[in-house]
Symmetry: C3
Subunit: 358 residues, 3 copies
């Protein structure tokens, strides 16, 4: 595809270089790995220096005249936009879309006669769709997906191979459930008794609103009563555990291996980095951010950033963790001070004198 | 179901209100979400205030006369018991049981002729049962489950969709293995050599005793020699990793994303909260508790609670983690003290004087 | 198998005892659990004492004359080698090999006509192999494996039940992918916009070089552009998350539940213990080691060991974490010092005097 065609397809938010060249772009690449057939982009200041050396055929630049001039000087065609990463994403979509099965039901799929299958649905080999399931138009169920009875799957939703949707789940439109994920699986509900653990059946519902993504081998559990709910456009990475009764807001992003205990509530546009853990019933307010590995035991106020275990405000965490590795020095200083003022000998004359406030 | 019928079904451990009303209960709900058709319960003091405002049709209360009076004053029928959560669990079971496949073998299942299948077993679509497998009476194998050769599955055990039971595994009676879990998978056994890692085959056995539950996408690994064993009635949540040769006692509970390295031994009735990690060969004694994200490197004594990374006694952890965020203050105090007594100038007159103990 | 036959099979690196006895070895066992039909071994000094008490029929010992004499005194046949664990691994392989399907394609497998299947390949029940896939000679695909279009699988590679290999993946020779693992799954690529998260399609490739192992329910994600790559003979345990664009070197070992964010680079022979997390774009140098639960935010130099969260050099971590639990003492000492020199009363005479450096 000619670079000029790509620029045209990206819409009118972009400023393009006015060089005579119009390279034939065949691929997309990171700026340090690109060759002359590739379009690349500058992702933040860390990568700006590559404009001088990249072998890319063309670039997406931020709105930075210095970088534009640098590229022009190298006769390197560019488009310049406020958010190069976004425009690069749209350029990728011109070249590549994930594999979708063609509409149709594979003869080895086992579909209960009571299931309602929409228009242009694709159902792969060995898929199992049980009684009373509803599958919306244009949904795509990759091979070996299993749907328990009574589930509903929204229009345009993609279920990747080997994921499992359990009873009492409602999946919205245009969701993506990745391989091996389990939605609506039984919450971990056991009541301690004198003779051991007694099971609390999980009779509630699990709801994924429209546009939700759930990563590989993640699990969103069904609650005892009420609902577990993931809000619109929330994106969840691999191996994330959402316990029974959690309520997650809209446009939240959770990185891999996050775990949240029962009844956690998460506001809108929250960002949880990798391996964050959130304790039972805790609330994380709108727009809050938790850094990687944060251990959240208490409510987190909207708009704040927390880090560490136990989680504390991020700026305080930075100071504390810098001091943490200075603990040996601090300990030594305290001992020296004690020696200097003789505090170990509480009854020494000097010590007595010192503590004799005037 | 009439409330009086529910009370009758719950047995004679309960005290019931003597109000004239006997509402028709159609569902179960959390106390803050219940409507007049729902039975709810008070789960701990945090929820007691809701007795004054809940819209529930009836309540399970703790044995607390103040709460009973409060409910009676609102003309709200109740039952009162020592453990409301347990009774609520039993009430749920009156309304809902998890979906089970009806007995019978789906025609698409592939069952080796040498497998021994018990009475009233349910085997779903596309299940694979290999040579020499024994499946006990009333077991339920949901669709796409794969059983490797020689495995035994106890009576009444439920295997959810897409879980895999590997060779040399023995699963007891009345176990539940959730979607995507792998039992008896190869332990991570590699020996370092000059040319890289040499595999140690895992020839041992994996044993789940009766009543064990294993969560979605968890793994219980097969050891090189000897056995990996999970004791009776132990309940394990999602994405938990049990390495080769671990021995877990009875009635243990492990929350999601716990990981234990090879050869760990866990006593009876231990509770491990989410994301706990336990190092190679460590032992956790009977009844011990580890808080969320604890990192256990050494043995934990029976009956103790540990927290933090590295794990220390919980009370000490609470004090230390409170002080952790006061490190900047502590550092400042030390500097001020040093300034005051001039410790930075070790040879200063005052400093010398101060360290001149009498 | 006679012990003498085992010794002969282990090659000429071993020194054998010259006792008259040649027991019939039927199994392998840990030294504290062995009976007289079992061969066992001494794994490190911790287990050396068992030589005096073990019921094993024969032992693999380190090259330690004291231990050899001890075994000989008990009339216990032994072989002695530099690395007993390695020799024990080879002895296990004489008794046990993991179950492999016999070559052949199960009639329920769904193989696209365009797929190229090598010689002596085993394809189990309900496997799905899509268009353009290449499967090398002697590969073994266990039941319910799903291969997306265009993937290549090297010779001798084993795919365990229910794992999924996504489009644009290239799996080398002699790899093992364990149950439920997802290779080449979509990277977590979303660009924040005013209206939420916009998806960045993941058009890159995922490459596993020869001899790689990936544990149960782990995921290796496909990048937006370029490649995610796992180097030769790297071994990865269960529930490990490798994000898009990570580049992992050769002969690396990662324990369970490790997570690495996008674009992380890992050198050769690195060891990551359980639950380690590595932030975006960080680099871990050749031969470095990260202890369990380490949180790595910055580059780690080759050959170093880091621990803790945030990760710091291991020796410093040991000192700091020992002091961490002494924070209450340190705090008390500081308060006492302040009291002694009256630092709380900044304007007190003594304080003024003390801070009056000469």
């Amino acid at each position: 595809m000619k670079f000029s065609q790509i620029v045209a397809a990206l819409g009118d938010q972009v400023t393009a270089s006015s060089l005579g060249t119009d390279p034939d772009i065949q691929s997309l690449a990171a700026i340090q790995e690109a060759d002359e057939t590739a379009l690349s982009y500058v992702e933040g200041p860390k990568f700006a220096d590559y404009v001088a050396t990249t072998q890319a055929g063309a670039l997406v630049l931020p709105t930075d005249e210095r970088l534009q001039a640098k590229a022009t000087a190298r006769n390197l065609p560019w488009v310049s936009v406020k958010n190069p990463r976004l425009i690069f994403a749209r350029a990728i979509a011109l070249f590549y879309r994930p594999f979708q099965l063609p509409p149709g039901i594979h003869p080895t799929a086992v579909i209960d006669p009571s299931a309602e299958i929409g228009e242009d649905v694709a159902i792969g080999a060995h898929v199992v769709v049980q009684a009373g399931v509803k599958v919306g138009d244009r949904a795509c169920l990759h091979p070996n997906v299993v749907i328990y009875p009574g589930v509903s799957i929204g229009a345009g939703t993609v279920l990747h191979a080997n994921c499992v949707i359990h009873e009492r789940s409602q999946i919205g439109a245009n969701c993506v459930i990745h391989s091996g994920a389990a939605i609506g699986s039984e919450g971990f509900g056991f009541v301690p008794t004198a003779t051991g653990w007694e099971k609390m059946h999980q009779s509630g519902v699990t709801i994924l609103e429209d546009g939700v993504e759930i990563g590989c081998n993640s699990a969103v559990d069904r609650p005892a009563v009420g609902e577990t709910r993931i809000g619109r456009n929330t994106k969840i990475d691999n191996m994330v555990h959402i316990a029974h009764g959690c309520k997650v807001g809209e446009a939240v992003a959770m990185a891999a291996q996050v775990g949240m205990a029962g009844g956690v509530t998460i506001g809108n546009r929250v960002i949880l980095a990798g391996q964050v853990g959130i304790a039972n019933q805790a609330h994380v307010g709108d727009g809050a951010i938790a850094s990687a590995k944060a251990g959240i035991h208490h409510n987190v106020a909207a708009g704040t950033t927390v880090s560490g275990m136990p989680a504390i405000p991020h700026k305080l965490y930075l100071r504390c963790s810098a001091l943490l590795k200075r603990l040996p020095d601090m300990s030594k200083s305290i001992k020296q001070l004690q020696k200097q003022i003789g505090s170990d000998e509480a009854d020494s004359e000097l010590s007595n004198k010192l503590s004799n406030k005037p």
